[in-house]
């Protein structure tokens, strides 16, 4: 499976934990933005680390939302 991420910008409070876990995939400006890809493992870890629960993960093949 390949996971892709999107940010719920209403929920994101720019904690920055996603950048800590997966600096290749996220950047924080005003709020977090997805800048690239990383392993599924790191995507899951980033989504779990987010205190605001603002990272949504999807299966790139099916488009189905994946719970972290």
């Amino acid at each position: 499976m390949t996971l892709i991420a999107s940010i719920d910008t209403d929920a994101c409070l720019a904690h920055g934990d996603c950048v800590e876990v997966a600096p290749q995939a996220f950047r924080v400006d005003d709020v977090a933005v997805v800048t690239g890809e990383t392993t599924d493992e790191r995507m899951l870890a980033a989504a779990r680390a987010c205190p605001a629960g603002a990272i949504l993960l999807y299966d790139a093949d099916t488009g189905a939302e994946v719970d972290a």
Binding site: A11, D30, R48, A52, G53, A54, D67
Partner: protein, 407 residues
Amino acid sequence: MTSGLLIVGGGLAAQRCCEVLRAAGDDRPITIVGAEPVRPYDRPPLSKTVPAGDVCFRPAEWYAERAIELRLGLAACGLEPGRRVVALADGSRLPYDQLLIACGATPRELPALGGFANVQALRTLADAARLASALAGGGPLAVVGAGLIGLEAAATAARMGVEVTVIEAAPRPLAGILGPRAAAWLTALHRACGVVVRTGTTVAAAREGRAGAWAGRAVAPEESGATRVRHVEALELSDGTRVACAHVLVGVGVRPATGWLAGSGLDPAGVLVDEAGRTALPGVFAAGDAACRPDPRTGRPVAGGHWESASREGAAVAAALLGRPARPAGPPSFWSDQHGIRLQCVGDPRDAEEVLAHGDLAGDCFELDHLRDGRITAVLLAGRPPSALRAARARLHVPHIPVRSAA
């Protein structure tokens, strides 16, 4: 020449204001004056991990590349709003076009524990280093105050194998936030992990140890400010019992670090602001723990809040400076990590009339819906995935708060 934006305080609110301004392409001069000799950093890790590691938000180049001047290790000591000048501790005076007061808060102290070399608070990076050093020397550690910081530090110490006792005056931990059910669960979690939790009792007196018994350990003598270094070896509690300690962490809340505003026209006990962070003085804003806002329940101004409020408020001031409306505030929220369990809360759980539990409290995986007038006013989650937090936010009833335009 313009003086630009002067930010007094180099914490989260200051950083968020800079981030939002620069992300929007705003290039006004910015100067950050910080009392601590370190670049803006994130405080939550200080009580969650030991040692805290690199907690700075950005490398030094980030500020240099964005024309943000950092003047660190320098406290503000006065504000002259008529001249639009801030006086600094080194005698210099900095002019401003706009001023953001984001100087945070100072830990409250307990008179009974004043003047002891092995008693500390946990607010700054230096505090965290001092606690790490003390914990590396073993315990026992006494934590006075079962708030978020005290409980997280207790959990961290217990994980390091240090004997910990938490002493709390209220009948339960996090009494200002949690109801009896969640507090009972949290108490059980700490006890299961080896933390001794003593509630409903206070520190009546400190029993002083033999002079020099702890010298050279954890705290250098010159830090005590006295020729004779005084150490606490036990805390005598109001219930007549005694808790032995090698080190004491006091976490009994904070007060705004705004005493330097005396005589400026702003309240030195905490600066009252509107939704956009504006104070009563033209061009002067405040955010984070230095700012006071009306409590939605009582209407009375209250200072500070959690990480989330400082982040929001710093960003809201940036939005006001940009002439944009602030992002909708959303419900209040906080999170905590204790003994490997993530605790999350959205909404205001105080004054709940009914609490409905979903899941398994004994298994540390549950949600507590807090109801008032038949509506969900807060949800507390423990050990739940991100999707559960999103679902909790969606079922929350948010009271309508009219938002004034920031323009």
